[in-house]
């Protein structure tokens, strides 16, 4: 049953645009979906290697800016009078290049910052995100600074023999986001269930022991950082081409915090955790808006968060799994139950 759950969820999600025609709620699904992808990328680092990257939004923003700039084109003068002119390229190349550039930044940050762990790592990643935000704000020639990059083209896909299909309508964009989400989910689940994933879990559980069985800690952490940054970059690209405008505010610390909330409440270190947490915290503002004023919306958001963290400190998904496991146990014959108790 558990094996089919992701597919059932995928089919259920795919049916949403068929019966839901309210554009406002569909819009909420799309932006929530984008943030779920970002939260999944954060979960790979936080949940499976135990490294808290509070600068994850940097990779999200880098993906957004790169994809937008590749598809808009730019003309900048670098130090020494070298002019770089880039003609607009098709949007899908922008998305791909955005992923590659983000992943590359993940590699650099990982290589440099995994020498330090714990609080130092957190500080390095926050600083990185802040530096990237300042670059986006001040390199006006490239990014338009606070004036924002506008008229970012929608995603179009050239189908051989069939002409172009553009993801302009909300329905089609929903499917695009869902597709990227599903691919990211598969990549992460393949990775964490492989030999590499076991090594990551081992080093999270007991780093010195992991080293002593021959796991090269830094290279696995860097690998996780690269995959995580690439997926965050994909989410950023989707975000840019959906909103069609981005400004340096995409690098705000608030967005990282949103991702952390989604991961921690849903259950870090589980595949479904960020999806569950993302749906809850993506939709609380949407639903609360219909019956309370804006000043109460965020209070409700905060209350939900505190209640979940207090009642289910490990997160929603692990709590559900534990509940099912304990139900299984109570169905066991008495002799095995005694053994289980003896064992613990």
């Amino acid at each position: 049953m558990k094996r089919y759950l992701p597919w059932i969820a995928l089919i259920a999600a795919a049916s949403i645009p068929l019966w839901l025609h309210d554009p406002y709620i569909l819009n909420a699904f799309i932006t929530t979906g984008i943030f779920i992808i970002a939260a999944m990328s954060l979960n790979l680092l936080l949940g499976y290697t135990g490294q808290l990257n509070l600068g994850q939004v940097a990779f999200f923003g880098i993906g957004a800016y790169t994809s937008a700039l590749v598809s808009l084109g730019f003309d900048v003068e670098l130090i020494g009078g070298i002019r770089v002119v880039h003609e607009p390229w098709p949007v899908w190349t922008g998305l791909l290049i955005g992923i590659v550039v983000s992943a590359f930044c993940g590699y650099i940050v990982g290589k440099l910052s995994f020498r330090v762990r714990g609080a130092y790592f957190v500080i390095v990643t926050i600083s990185f995100a802040e530096v990237v935000r300042l670059v986006a704000l001040n390199w006006v020639e490239l990014t338009q600074g606070p004036l924002a990059l506008t008229s970012i083209p929608p995603v179009t896909l050239g189908l051989p023999g069939l002409g172009y299909y553009d993801f302009f309508s909300k329905q089609s964009y929903f499917y695009l986001v869902l597709g990227v989400l599903a691919i990211s989910y598969i990549i992460i689940s393949r990775l964490v269930n492989s030999r590499t994933g076991r090594a990551m879990v081992a080093l999270k559980e007991n780093e010195s022991l992991a080293v002593s069985v021959g796991i090269d800690v830094t290279s696995y952490l860097v690998l996780a950082a690269v995959v995580s940054a690439g997926i965050a970059g994909a989410a950023g690209g989707l975000y840019a081409h959906y909103l069609k405008i981005i400004d340096p505010d995409v690098f705000l610390f608030l967005y990282t915090v949103t991702m952390v909330i989604m991961v921690v409440t849903g259950g870090k270190g589980t595949l479904a955790g960020p999806v569950v947490g993302g749906l809850i915290f993506g939709f609380i503002p949407v639903f609360s808006r219909s019956f309370v004023g804006p000043e109460l919306q965020w209070i409700i958001y905060g209350v939900f968060m505190i209640v979940i963290v207090f009642v289910l400190p490990e997160g929603i998904v692990p709590a559900i799994e534990k509940w099912f496991a304990s139900k299984d146990k109570s169905r066991m014959p008495e002799s095995t139950q005694a053994q289980v108790q003896d064992a613990s």
Binding site: R198, V201, E205, N206, L209, S212, I215, A343
Partner: protein, 237 residues
């Protein structure tokens, strides 16, 4: 088999090892004894490549391993059974054993060794699917030893295998280590429990404040006056 020459290790500015030399011969059981903080664990950590040394040479089977990574050293056949938190607590017994064989590519050989350790420790075989954190202290130590066996080492290094275990379990653990040695694996063991270690070993080194101050066969050291006074609780034994 293993030669350590003038090994110096530092934690920041503190010099934990001030030039240690020792050697372990093929098939031998060598013990390293000394008080808390003398540098016993540091020595093992330096040999296994977890800690990099500031000066000195390490060689294994005639080849220089001073600059090798932990990964390469395990590949060459040195297993390290560290002290303290000995297992991966959220992994099952089986998964812990898999981690021990992490660098080995031969699936068939791994399964053979798994059966072998389950033969040695039937308790673990019963608990294959149990999460290691829920095992008793003695079972965890047996799992840690089994995990080291899974890397098919030529030299096994034990760091305080008796630490935190009940006396009757300690005896069992020492018996297991003795059996491992009898099966042909060379053993280097660090122990605070000096008397048991000296009784079991072929050769022993006494380390004090980062320096080797005495060495000799187990019997020689048991009879040594300094050791009797400082480590064996006077002449009572």
């Amino acid at each position: 088999m293993l030669e350590v020459r003038d090994l110096v290790c530092r934690y920041g500015k503190v010099e934990a090892l001030k030039g240690i030399s020792l050697s372990v011969k093929q098939g031998q059981f060598v013990a390293l004894i000394g008080a808390n903080g003398a540098g016993k664990s540091t020595t093992l950590r330096a040999i296994s490549g977890v800690l990099s040394s500031a000066a000195g040479q390490l060689s294994f089977e005639g080849q220089d391993i001073t600059r090798c990574s932990a990964r390469e050293i395990i590949g060459r056949g040195i297993a390290h059974c560290p002290e303290g938190r000995r297992v991966f607590p959220d992994m099952t017994v089986d998964e812990n054993l898999d981690m021990g064989a992490y660098l080995r590519p031969d699936r068939a050989g791994i399964e053979q060794d798994r059966e072998r350790v389950f033969g040695m420790f039937p308790r673990l075989a019963e608990r294959r699917q149990q999460v290691a954190g829920t095992l008793s202290g003695g079972e965890q130590q047996m799992l840690a030893i089994s995990r080291s066996i899974m890397s098919r080492p030529k030299l096994m290094m034990f760091d305080e295998p008796s630490l935190g275990l009940a006396p009757n379990i300690v005896e069992q653990v020492f018996d297991i280590i003795d059996n491992i040695r009898k099966s042909g694996t060379t053993v280097l063991m660090v122990e605070q429990n000096a008397y048991s270690a000296l009784e079991m070993c072929d050769y022993a080194y006494l380390i004090e404040a980062g320096v080797i101050v005495l060495s000799g066969t187990g019997e020689e050291l048991i009879d040594n006056k300094h050791i009797r006074d400082a480590y064996l609780g006077g002449s009572g034994h």
